[in-house]
């Protein structure tokens, strides 16, 4: 026993040494989720896609507000009705020293739809391409199947792989499994891949020949820490220098701590409610003699006016949200500056319900997820009690996100809550998937599970994505949004989440609207 006691101080000293921070120029990041693959083209899930941008550059980048800026492409323009020309950056080097050329872009564009077993293919961003032509090493022409002004947007959400580095015997070249092991995982991005210990850490190292700003970190170590309390603890103890996904209740304490800084930004995550505006009889409604009240836009508007968005933002979200009028924040392409969030007006809501033939309201079951989104349970309860106050007796049917998606997709709900992400940083893509009339073989209405449909909106969206004039395209999107949000109340948008990051005071962070956590946005504090 006494021999053991003699060892105790030695163990403690060793532990102290081990817990001391690593080299000063390392950046350690606590992530709330781990990418499921290192293959940048395997799964169109934002965590995978956005992580890949450390290693693989995009042709066109999105800045912290999702505006486009040159990446591997220096400039791009339409040279014919269906033809885009991209001028590529010269002198760009891959991590292995090879030069970047148009060949690599063509390789990538062919690889994306060829990756097998993709749970959700990035092929949606290349499906508009009819043919590709390499004019010279640094000029690429792309012909689309139809006039498509949004091609640069689509090209801003996937990374470019090297033809030489990622070629292989199968159609996709290096397989997902090879890439997960680091084989062929060579890009032009600011950081090189070092190792991935699944569940524990991903290590990257600075790419010394990176074409952009010189990165301040020798190494970046990403640690997946899913529990938000554990992430905060890891930051406070100095295990990591930067964490993402700080939950609202932790913020006041962190803001007071002088060793820590908090950075927040509005995000492209919009929380919304959709109604079954398709069926004559709808499963979650009773007390209407079998009628579906949501086929009447007055009812949908009434329920929007019955929601106190300000209260949800200030009480439930603790200020970490902004009331919303449409699915993308006001600074994005296609946002309609004339639209304001619906005011809180319960009296008008009651009048509208009476005018629609429901003076005594009805009973409703609101479907809602119970996880994934920030404070989603509290939000659904609040909405239910606000609706009950104007006479629509609402109960919440909450289920975990896995079950929720399947139930929603089987049309089990008459009204449901959801969240959307504006990946492309503009209006049309999101409006297309969530509010266009659903079709089987395209992205139109794929998450429009209320089956809202207005031919005029479909027409405007189609015109917007094929107009060759940018201003015209913007106007058409704005009009489509106005019809969905204000004329039809086809969906009720509640708010945009604000997302928060926290750093040790030795690090500064530039938060992004797209919710990504980029080592490139972190700098040593002066």
């Amino acid at each position: 026993m006494s021999a053991f006691l003699r060892w105790v101080p030695a163990i403690l000293v060793a532990a102290c040494l081990a817990a001391a921070p690593a080299r000063a120029a390392d950046l350690r990041i606590g992530l709330s989720a781990e990418p499921s693959s290192m293959d940048p083209h395997y799964h169109n899930a934002w965590i995978n896609v956005s992580f890949s941008f450390h290693i693989f550059d995009r042709l066109i980048e999105q800045d912290e507000r999702q505006n486009l800026r040159p990446g591997l492409a220096l400039s791009w323009k339409m040279v014919g009705e269906r033809v885009w020309e991209f001028k590529l950056r010269q002198g760009v080097k891959f991590h292995d020293g090879a030069a970047f050329t148009a060949e690599d872009v063509v390789f990538t564009l062919k690889r994306i739809p060829a990756v097998p077993n993709s749970p959700s293919s990035l092929g949606v961003y290349t499906s508009s391409i009819e043919s590709m032509e390499i004019v010279d090493l640094y000029t690429l022409r792309i012909t689309t199947k139809a006039p498509y002004p949004l091609l640069p947007r689509d090209f801003s959400v996937f990374g470019i792989m090297g033809k030489k580095q990622a070629s292989g015997p199968v159609p996709e070249g290096k397989t997902t499994q090879q890439l997960n092991a680091g084989d062929g995982l060579v890009g032009t991005g600011p950081y090189k891949f070092v190792e991935w210990v699944k569940g524990d850490r991903i290590v990257l190292a600075r790419h010394p020949d990176y074409w952009g700003d010189k990165q301040p970190w020798d190494r970046v170590i990403f640690k997946p820490i899913r529990a938000s309390g554990a992430r905060v603890a890891a930051l406070l103890s100095g295990d990591v220098d930067l964490i993402e996904g700080v939950s609202p209740p932790d913020l006041p304490r962190l803001r007071q701590d002088s060793n820590v800084k908090v950075w927040d930004s509005i995000s492209n995550v919009a929380m919304y409610i959709m109604f079954d505006s398709f069926r004559d009889e709808t499963p979650g409604v009773s007390g209407t003699n079998g009628k579906n009240p949501f086929k009447d836009s007055r009812v949908r508007k009434a329920l929007s006016l019955a929601i106190n968005r300000e209260a949800i933002v200030s009480r439930i979200m603790e200020g970490m949200a902004t009331p919303a009028a449409e699915v993308v924040p006001p600074f994005m392409f296609g946002a309609n500056p004339d639209l304001k969030p619906d005011p809180y007006d319960p009296d008008e809501a009651k009048k509208l319900l009476a005018a629609a033939g429901y003076p005594n309201g009805f009973k409703l079951v609101l479907g809602a997820p119970s996880d994934r989104y920030v404070r989603i349970s509290e939000i659904s309860q609040a909405v239910a009690s606000m609706w009950s106050r104007v006479g629509v007796q609402t109960s919440v049917d909450a289920s975990t996100i896995t079950t929720f998606f399947t139930r929603r997709n089987k049309y089990e709900f008459s009204a449901f809550l959801g969240g959307s992400l504006a990946y492309t940083g503009e209006m049309s893509f999101l409006l297309k998937v969530v509010a266009a009339t659903p079709t089987a073989n395209s992205l139109h209405g794929v998450i429009n599970k209320g089956r809202y449909s207005n031919p005029k909106v479909d027409e405007l969206l189609h015109a917007a994505v094929s107009a060759t004039d940018e201003e015209k395209s913007r106007k058409l999107m704005q009009e489509a949004s106005r019809i969905v949000m204000k004329e039809d109340h086809g969906m009720l948008v509640l708010h945009f989440d604000k997302r928060a990051w926290a750093t040790r005071s030795t690090v500064t962070y530039n938060p992004r609207v797209d919710t990504s956590t980029f080592a490139m946005e972190a700098k040593p504090a002066k």
Binding site: A19, H43, P119, S120, R226, S237, T400, N409, V446, I447
Partner: protein, 325 residues
Amino acid sequence: MTVVILRRLFQAVGVVFTMSVLVFIGVYAIANPIDVLAGGQSSGVEREALSRALGLDRPIWTQFFIFLGKLASGDFGRSFVANEPAIHIILDRMPATLELAFVAMFLSIVLGIPLGMLAGLRPNSFAGRSVMVGSILGFSLPTFWVGLMLILIFAVYLGILPATGRGDTVTVLGVQLSIFTWDGLSHIILPAFNLALFKMALVIRLTRAGTREALLQDYVKYARAKGLSERRVIGVHVLRNILIPVVTVLGLELGNVVAFAVVTERVFAWPGMGKLLIDSIELLDRPVIVAYLIVIVFVFVIINLVVDLLYSFLDPRVRLAEQRA
């Protein structure tokens, strides 16, 4: 001996079969994995293609027999999420969990048995009472809360131990282990202690009860009458007899620790199998869930076997070959 092992293996196969049926039906009843995987970025046509590629378009029982057929040839299926063989993903994570579980068991034994004996030998002393109060706390405090408190005290306020993750590893016999590096040890202390707390309380109670009972037995009186030293009476005669229930319970608990280290792994971001299981359930990654459970079934079977062998070593009255159950 061989008969015993063979019989156990056959039992394990039966359990694996029953369990796979349950998992298949369970996942099928919860939701369609395609809905979780595909998100809002794939058209109906693409979803159908994915469904076909993963074999999810077939009737559930066809899927099940395809799975059984492949399992017979050692193929556990590929993860829907990662597109890698499910068994690789699990075996990758297994050393971390086993390491954590064994260190936790070790802690609960080396701390639990002496403390339990102390409480059994001196039930009315201050120390004995404190140990029992402590063991009540060990039982009743929720693991995640204790975990967070340990992090707060040792990592945040004192700053002497790291809060999360696994430390540096070295390769021992082809397996990545962290207990042979100082960094690794400093990382494993808190989660292992957290995981050990409940077991330690269990061991303390078992040992105390066993000790008190044993002290009244004739053989102890006889040993004392023979003039054996107190040290030998307690350390050999009493200890050996109270070990039997302790070994049984710990054997079963080891399986539990391996299978349900989930909470501790989550709080300490420990890259083990428990964390993987939770992630896989959230994403309805059926091949990984099934493979994980199969691995756990075999872990339980092996542990039970080892416990039986230990029995016959500790108590010569037990003869394995005579068991017919």
